[in-house]
Every structure is written in structure tokens, then in C-alpha cells.
């Protein structure tokens, strides 16, 4: 901390003022989106912003039901959950050995995994589109599940390695002395202890899947279209259904925010822990 001792009253007032200003700037657009989602088109397009009005749920009904946005949400959830489970399963198989043993080439393996995140998705998406078209995977669920697992695996390994490294080795050794097999002690002792870490890592992976657009835009069509791509349907160069977009946007954003606020503490800790076992 760069200040010493108790802050003076002036400093406290300044800190609160900066905090309130930042909060207004960062929260206002989200507030505005949610507010607009409950307006009629006339209210939303008034040249002087309307703050008080009778809210309507018409936008939600129209976009979710009539325009089938709920189907895109279902695709997003299905692909996201499947990919997250796969990511966690694969990440555990890498993160646990890296955290528990001092392996030859460990440093190189970790650097290589992290370096994969440097490749811009636009670079992979051109050849992948051609490859996936040739093997009939375009607009099939596995296409995005594979890509999202690939996208999230490096970060998941990084975070889980930190969570595994936190568990005292003695616990496992005690189990082994009591006659447990290494695999048995892993499932009965280690995995339950690391469960909060798995949840935090999984939630983060799920959010990244949920928000992803480039791969989804290129690799899906009518059957497997996800929510972010579905949003583009309502904003064509010809017409933009603003109030319905704000409703759909609210539906996309609010669950993530709720989850985010709940698991924030875990996430920040998890990201920091990755660095513990340098």
C-alpha cells in the first residue's frame, strides 16, 4: 500500500468521490440497457431520454418467444456446459501432475500451454472452417465444443495448478500409508478439497464460452447458433430492433453478472494462485 498511516478526511472524501464517479461511468450503460429493455419503441426513441414510464415485458416476449432467441440460449448453454466439463476433465489431468511432481520439462510445458493463447482466433478460424466443412462439422455441436475447450484449457490449467498446489502433500501421503491407492486418494482426498477451485475455474470457462462470438459466427448456422450470434439477426444494415436487442442483451448479461458477483472472490484468488507455483 502506498499510503502510510490513517488517511486524512480530505483523502477519504476524494477516494469516495472517485469511486462514485467510476461506478457511475461503468454502471450507467448497463443500467441504460436494462431500462430500455422495458420501454416501448416510442419511449426508447424519444429525443429527450425517458426515465419514468410504465414498464412493459413485450420486448422480452417478442424476442425470446416470437423470434426464437430462447433456442439460441439453449444452444449456448448446451455447448458451454459440455465444453466446460471437457475443459475441467482435461485440465485436471495436466494441472495435477504439474502441481504435485517436479517433472523434467515442466517449465517448457507450462510456457508452451500459455503461449497457445497468443494465436489470434482469426488465424485459426480460416483453416478450421475449411477443415470442418470437409468433415461435415460446420453447424454441428462438436465444432464449437472443441474450439471452446481449446480456448479455455490453457487458463484452466494455469488456475487449477494453483489450487492443487495449495493442498498439503501430507494429506495424500497419509492416505497412502493407510493403504489407499494413488488414484483412490486422488478421488477421495484431493478432488473434494479442490472442488471450490473447480467451480471457480468452470464458471470462468463457461462465461468465456457464453460470450464468444468469432468462432460461433463462422462455425454455426441455423441449427447450432448461439446467443451472441443470434443477436446479430436483430441488427441488420436495413433495420435494428433496438428495444428487443436490449431485452436479449439483458438476458445474455444478467446471469453472467449474478454469477460473477457471487464467485468474484474465488476468481481473483484462483488467478493469483496460478502464480504461486512459479
Amino acid at each position: 500500500m502506498f499510503t502510510v498511516g490513517k488517511p486524512s478526511p480530505g483523502v477519504i472524501v476524494f477516494t469516495y468521490a472517485a469511486g462514485v464517479l467510476a461506478l457511475l461511468l461503468f454502471m450507467f450503460p448497463i443500467f441504460w440497457m436494462v431500462l430500455t429493455s422495458f420501454k416501448t419503441t416510442v419511449q426508447a426513441f424519444s429525443s429527450v431520454p425517458v426515465l419514468f414510464f410504465t414498464p412493459t415485458l413485450e420486448n422480452y416476449r417478442e424476442v425470446l418467444v416470437d423470434r426464437g432467441f430462447i433456442g439460441y440460449i439453449r444452444n449456448s448453454l448446451f455447448i458451454g456446459l459440455l465444453s466446460t466439463l471437457l475443459t475441467l476433465a482435461l485440465a485436471v489431468t495436466v494441472a495435477y501432475p504439474l502441481a504435485r511432481y517436479s517433472l523434467r520439462g515442466e517449465r517448457q510445458i507450462v510456457s508452451w500451454i500459455l503461449s497457445l493463447r497468443i494465436i489470434p482466433p482469426i488465424v485459426s478460424v480460416i483453416p478450421l472452417y475449411i477443415i470442418f466443412s470437409n468433415i461435415g462439422l460446420v453447424d454441428q455441436y462438436p465444432a464449437l465444443v472443441i474450439m471452446y475447450t481449446f480456448m479455455n484449457l490453457p487458463l484452466a490449467v494455469w488456475m487449477l495448478r494453483g489450487f492443487f498446489a495449495e493442498i498439503p502433500r501430507e494429506l495424500e501421503e497419509a492416505a497412502l500409508v493407510d493403504g489407499s491407492t494413488p488414484l483412490g486418494s486422488f478421488f477421495r482426498i484431493v478432488l473434494p478439497l479442490v472442488a471450490p477451485g473447480l467451480v471457480a475455474t468452470g464458471m470462468l470457462a463457461l462465461i468465456f464460452c457464453w460470450n464468444e462470438f468469432l468462432f460461433a459466427n463462422v462455425l454455426t448456422a441455423a441449427r447450432t447458433r448461439t446467443a451472441p450470434v443470434g443477436l446479430t439477426e436483430y441488427a441488420t444494415p436495413v433495420s435494428v430492433l433496438w428495444t428487443q436487442i436490449m431485452a436479449a442483451g439483458t438476458v445474455v448479461v444478467v446471469p453472467v453478472l449474478t454469477v460473477g458477483v457471487v464467485i468474484q472472490r474465488f476468481l481473483v484468488r484462483g488467478l493469483a494462485l496460478g502464480a504461486v507455483k512459479g
Binding site: 502506498f2 502510510v4 461503468f26 495436466v94 485459426s124 480460416i126 484449457l153 468469432l214 443477436l231
Partner: protein, 305 residues
Amino acid sequence: MSAGRSALPREQVRSRRRHLVPYLVMLPALLFLLAVSIVPLVYSLVVSLLRFNLMNLDRTGFVGLRNFQLILESPDFWNSLRVTALFVVIAVGLELVLGLALALVLSRDVPGIGFFRSFILVPLALAPVVVGLLWRFMLNTESGVLNWIVTLFGLPRLDFLSNTLLALPIIALVDVWQWTPFMFLILLAAIQALPHEPFEAAAIDGASTWETIVHIALPMLRYPILVAVLLRTIDAFRVYDLIFMMTRGGPINATDTLSWSVYNVGFRNFNMGYAAALSWIILIIVTVIVTIFIRLLSGRGEQPA
């Protein structure tokens, strides 16, 4: 099992096998990562050497480095490079300044500060697609709330996103809105981890707050700042979602970033050979940038993996 291996004492064989187990456990995941990263890159390199248009597959053929030559001779490529560089500099530069300032101010432990720190992070969780649409709505000429604010200052309404000079900086500012909290998050954690002693010494010597920040805090924050700027640069360099939602590369080509340009050539003109070559050029540029950052970082000795 080879003859040499079976000549080893039993104990040694077992311990060697046990040493292999961690690697075997890691193998499937590592192979998966290898397959999904290397196969597309190699395939893309092959495609980049072809005349390969999905709308005209009959004319497919080997053209050597022709695609690369066409790109380097194209003014569109140099425009995209300039647009992307400008976007990265504006966005990441402002994010660093604002994120650092915010982290310094909000690092003071006053009651209830946790509330502010948490809610500032909210934009990070938003889908960039939603962010792009939301800001486009707020910037709308006729009814956008931001244009209403403009009129409060007695200025005429502006068509921000149709203006060739304004469109790119505006999109960069939207990026600043979403990602300044990321800089804030990393730098706040770094500031909180700083040792107390140098600051106590500075206080005793009567240094001003400004002097303390510039001469003591900033040099100690060099490493986290570089990491945060590196992560944001990698990310800002690939900007695509905001462009798709806000301007689609326009007006004219004022927001035609490199990622958008690859998408445009590949999935609107279906010229895969050219798009693959362009994406390899992007990969090389990114690798050079990252290498420079890593050099800067490793100048500081011990680095966490």
C-alpha cells in the same frame, strides 16, 4: 520391453515406470492442444500458397508466395495495419492510464471500499457483442442518450460512427470502457502486494504523494504493468466483435482492422488463399510484439512462469 530395459534391477524399472505415469496422464490433453493449434496453422500455411477461392474451386492451384506479394502491395493491408496499431495504442494507452489512476486511488482502505472495487469490475463479464450493440444504441444520432448529452452543451447531434475521423477513436473508447477494469484489477492486486517499508521511509523524508507514486510505486510496479499491457495488447490487437457490431469496417475503411479484414476476405469474398496468407502475416506480427514484451520482462531476472 527392450532387452536393455529388462536387464535393469526390478526396483529401478518400477521407479522409471512411475516417473512416466505423470507424463502419460498429461498426454491426451497435451495432444489435444497440439492437434487443435498446430494442424490449423500448418494447413493455413499450405492454403496461403494456393489460389483458393471457395466460390471458384476449379481454378485452385499452387501460386507460391503470390498471395503474400499481393498483400504487401495492397494499400488495404497497410491501412488495416495502421488502423489496428492506432486502435491498440489509443485503447491500451488509455486503459493503462485510467486503470492505474483508479487502482492508486482506490487502493486506500476506507470503509466500504470493497463495494466500489467489486462493481467497477462488472463490464469485464459482458459479452463484447452486447457491449458493441449497447454503445451503438447510446451513440445513435436521433435518439441516443450520449447525443442528448452532446445537445446539453449546445452542440449539434453527431453521427459518431459514420464519421471517418471519429469512428475508430469511438470504438477504442468503448474498448476502454470495457477493459479499464481489467487493468484496475491487476494493478490493484499489485499495489496491495507492495512492501510497506519504502513508503514509510518516503513519508519520514517528507515526500509528496506525487513524488512517492512516481519515484517509488511506479518503478516497483514495472513488472505487473508490463504483464497487464502485454495481455491487453494481445487482446486489443485481435478486435473483431466490436467492429462487427458497430461499423463493419466502415465508414469506407476507417475501422477495417486486421482481424476484420481477414474475415472480410475469407467469409465475404471467400478468397481463402489470400485470407490464410494475411492471417499468417498477423501471426508473425503478434509473435514479434510478444517477443519484444518478453524481452522487456525477462530484463528483470526471476519471472513467474
